[in-house]
């Protein structure tokens, strides 16, 4: 590891600094919001439940991010993917930025990056490609909120509620429909090649159905027996249960059925 120019103490120190800023901001906001929650009369248990269930909810998606870092580390070393995936951006954005930068110098993410020039170029393209929100939010967020508030105050509250629910539903529908019938995009993914398999198929549909079923059952049980804690944890429990089903399917069903994708 020390002989590799992509991983050294100096870079790790920079990474640690970035992580410190992220955690510092999160802690600061957590304290401010918790104080305000108390002032608003929100119950202590509600705050506590929010903290615990959010932490649980985060574990699986965070491990999926770690998996991307590991995959990227083959080409880029561990430090750069670690820094980049701890801030802004997301899995697909960082991957495509890195591969776009490499194409300029005629490389690709499927091999190790061996020259320092390409590596420096990648850090620049990844950073400049993703930083725009940090400039537009400080400038425009307040104005944007004002505009939305003015529009909402002139509108029937029933419509405002329906529209805000609709915005969530639209977001969720995008991911749900991809899991039902979407075609894999990983075929052109420089990182995973054709074998990645992110198209909809037996696995994604059964996982989706299990998540829906477990969630509905848990909600019913929580309502019937008035279990407040279950209400709070129904979401992370359903998610883990559905991921467990995915593992079960891969172990129990023959490979050609378990990994069948409708359209590849």
């Amino acid at each position: 590891m020390p002989s590799d120019f992509k991983e050294n103490g100096f870079f790790v120190a920079i990474g640690a600094l970035v992580v410190l800023v992220v955690i510092g901001q999160s802690l600061f906001f957590l304290v401010k919001a918790s104080k305000r929650a108390k002032e608003l009369g929100i119950e202590k248990t509600t705050i506590k439940n929010t903290i615990v269930s959010s932490a649980l909810f985060t574990i699986a998606p965070a491990l999926a991010i770690v998996a991307t870092i590991i995959a990227l580390s083959n080409a880029l070393g561990l430090v750069l993917p670690w820094i980049r995936l701890s801030v802004i951006g997301n899995i697909s954005q960082e991957t495509s930025a890195a591969s776009a930068a490499l194409e300029v110098v005629g490389g690709s993410l499927s091999g190790k990056v061996t020259d320092e020039y390409s590596f420096a170029l990648i850090t620049w393209v990844m950073t400049l490609g993703s930083s725009l929100p940090l400039i537009i939010i400080p400038i425009f967020l307040k104005k944007l909120q004002k505009g939305i508030k003015t529009a909402a105050s002139k509108t029937d509250s029933k419509l405002v509620d329906a529209l805000s629910a609709a915005a969530f539903i639209g977001l969720i529908a995008a991911f749900v429909s991809r899991a039902i019938i979407g075609q894999g995009t990983a075929g052109d993914n420089p990182l995973y090649g054709k074998s990645f398999g992110d198209g909809a198929g037996i696995m994604s549909v059964l996982t989706l159905i299990s998540a829906v079923a477990v969630m509905l059952i848990l909600e019913k049980i929580a309502a019937k027996f008035k279990l407040k804690w279950l209400e709070t944890f129904a979401m992370p429990i359903s998610m883990f249960a559905a991921m467990g089903v995915a593992i079960l399917i891969s172990v129990a069903l023959p490979e050609n059925i378990a990994y069948l994708e409708w359209r590849g």
Binding site: L30, S34, S164, I172
Partner: protein, 224 residues
């Protein structure tokens, strides 16, 4: 009541001030990463090369950034916006996490209770994510490949994180607002039949617009 609304204004106002300071600090630190890397390696990429690389991704990234900022503002609230855009992974983690927290606490995203619950949830999620990533990278490096590699027993579970996550979230929302939900899911599925590779990033704004228009129609027809 009057005092409450006055202090609400002060809280949100304060969050804007704090948020701007933190976000600009984060921007400074994040932007210094390529500078420091280049200085250490003594490799300064040619402007033309950076521009060429950016030209391939920036138009899409910048357009997405603008759309995301507009779409997430009413959902995530003031604190949530300043925090989640610094820490990233919004649509696949922070947003569903905040939605789930607000749903469980039975608060509306438009209320100040929703604002604080969303901020608490995103703050916790950011801390946990950052710690998990740092811990895994530093401490568990040797055993990680066994968990996350392609042939690990857990691999199918990690590939199905999104269906599992949005299935659980969808069950809750769709069952409560099934009239609003039917059309967006149906239309997006039909769209995917014809253009299967549309990525989630593009599908997202399309889904939101369809759902908003459909909810408006339902409201006008007095069906909801």
């Amino acid at each position: 009541m009057k005092a409450g609304s006055k202090s609400e204004k002060t809280y949100i106002e304060k969050m804007h001030t704090y948020g701007r300071i933190w976000m600009l600090l984060a921007l400074f630190v994040i932007s210094s990463v390529p500078v420091l890397f280049s200085a250490y390696l003594q490799q300064w990429p040619a402007l033309a090369d950076v521009a060429k690389g950016l030209a391939k991704v920036a138009p899409l990234f910048y357009a997405t950034a603008v759309i995301e900022v507009i779409a997430y503002t009413p959902i995530l609230g003031t604190g949530g916006m300043y925090l989640s855009f610094v820490t990233g992974n919004i649509s696949n983690l922070k947003l569903p996490c905040a939605l789930s927290a607000m749903e469980a606490a039975k608060v509306k995203s438009t209320s100040e209770e929703g604002e604080v619950i969303s901020t608490i949830s995103i703050a916790v999620s950011s801390i946990v994510t950052t710690l998990i990533i740092a811990l895994c990278v530093i401490v568990f490096k040797p055993i990680l490949p066994y968990i996350t590699s392609e042939d690990s027993v857990f691999a199918p579970a990690f590939k199905q994180v999104l269906p599992a996550l949005f299935g659980a979230l969808g069950a809750s929302y769709f069952s409560k607002h099934w009239k609003i939900s039917i059309l967006p899911v149906l239309l997006l599925c039909i769209m995917l039949i014809f253009a299967g590779t549309i990525p989630s990033g593009t599908l997202l704004p399309i889904g939101v617009v369809i759902a908003l228009v459909w909810a408006y129609v339902l409201y006008k027809k007095k069906w909801i």
